[in-house]
Symmetry: C2
Subunit: 290 residues, 2 copies
């Protein structure tokens, strides 16, 4: 199975899981606007393939994959708000607060987080599985928000180099949810046996992959146009934020991508051919152009 073959299955699941929610139609419309029709679905795809890499069936991780994507989508909606990044373009469409108003964007973001946890408990086969998944996702969500605070509002520990600051920010801001996606996939394969060897390897993979993903993101922000990425570019540099190209330079950032790719692939070695889709995904993400 090619790495991205599961995307249509994930899209259908996201559609079905949100269609049936008992919510006011305007709220439901806002949630579905932000969640459906766009995005790489990287986190759900990671979840799916980490489930298969740990010996499970990808289908059994779909509810975990959907919950992670709901958290990711909620974070984008709130990050785009006028008081935050004040962004008007996301996944090639107007951001939610432009589409449905700022109050709705705040409330729909909030609702998406609650729905993520609802999906985990309503759709887990056993309470123990639900509890293990909720633990991963709640910790990852606070970690992601901590990273966003570090990135935009400070509060970093003193004495770190710029590269250490970048790694801390991104291991939280994007890394938390990528790590959770991978570990939750593993948990769906293994039940609540969170100390199984695959879990350790998947976590090591996720940490290197997540950082690599962010370095590539920073490079694309410098090198690409909005038409290619579906969002405004060069915002980070303009906002004076730390970026990998800014701290390491472009060439060294590219070498860092290759180094992190090697670490990620090495972590998968014990999983043999079960992890082939993850390897393919890792190589694709290292050279992605959008």
């Amino acid at each position: 199975m090619a790495a991205l073959d599961c995307v249509p299955v994930i899209e259908r699941y996201l559609d079905e899981a949100t269609r049936s929610l008992k919510l006011p139609p305007n709220l439901l419309g806002a949630i579905r606007y932000a969640l459906l029709g766009g995005g790489k679905r990287l986190r759900p795809v990671l979840c799916w393939h980490c489930c298969t890499a740990a010996g499970g069936r990808g289908e059994d991780s779909l509810h975990a994959a959907a919950a992670v994507e709901l958290i990711h989508a909620f974070s984008l909606v709130h990050d785009d708000l006028p008081a935050m990044d004040d962004d008007d373009l996301r996944r090639g469409k107007p951001t939610l607060h432009l589409h449905a108003g700022e109050p709705m964007a705040i409330l729909a973001g909030d609702a998406m987080m609650a729905v993520a946890f609802e999906v985990l408990v309503e759709r887990s086969a056993k309470p123990a599985l639900a509890a293990a998944l909720v633990r991963e996702l709640s910790l990852a969500t606070t970690g992601m928000i901590a990273g966003q605070v570090h990135d935009t509002l400070g509060g970093l520990p003193k004495g770190l180099s710029d590269k250490q600051k970048l790694e801390l920010i991104h291991s939280q801001k994007t890394g938390s949810l990528i790590r959770a996606a991978c570990r939750m996939g593993g948990i769906c394969a293994y039940g609540d046996l969170m100390r199984s060897p695959p879990m350790l390897w998947l976590t090591q993979f996720a940490d290197a992959f997540g950082l690599m993903f962010q370095v590539v993101d920073d490079l694309l922000d410098v090198e690409c146009t909005p038409e290619q990425t579906g969002k405004h570019t060069r915002k980070d540099a303009r906002a004076g934020k730390l970026t990998y190209p800014g701290v390491l330079g472009i060439d060294e950032s590219r070498r860092e991508v290759l180094r992190l790719q090697d670490v990620a692939l090495k972590a998968l070695e014990p999983l043999g051919s079960h992890a082939d889709a993850l390897r393919e995904l890792c190589r694709q993400m290292a050279v992605r152009r959008s």
Copy 2:
């Protein structure tokens, strides 16, 4: 035990449970500013006494009580934002976005919701208990947000009378979380036996109590000064929102309080003396002045 004797225990638990969170200090400070030092703690108190009414020990419901209060406090932070109610006073203090800035208020609100679920899974004795509590709280949170959408952004079903609209809005906006507080207290006493008779009675109590609480709130908004309530008053009427005094008149609203109090007290009858603290709380809330 008098109904409010558990408040200091709840306050200490909220302090302890948030002190140890591994978060950036500015984010942690914002969360604790919004959560600690103020508020009636009505929902945690309900949770505690519903646990004892169902035959459990109040202490065993503390983590559920804290999670409910975190959700309540998060909703206040986001409701107060400039794009929402644009409020500057809450619990007698400047609102969080005035104290710490709007981006921090958005992010701290988000983090409080995630921490609520984290507390449930980290502090439940068994995974099945955690899963049952997460189910209640996630559904209540989306219900609460749906009520807020109905109240401020429309999307109500067509053909309802003003009184029916009010009941629908408030059964969701304030009722969802009050119901969850009561049911989660019962669940902490009964494990995951959610169909136990006490659960039915506690739910009936919660629904009547929650509506009564809101009618009293609307009456206070008309009759009291900001000095008495610690927040601005007469906002709802000024904003053109539906209120009980506006729809029913003041006298009829007062009669509605007594009627709902009777329904709430009747629901508690099968629980005998176990429910004495809940009865006391119900009578106090019917005549509260702040």
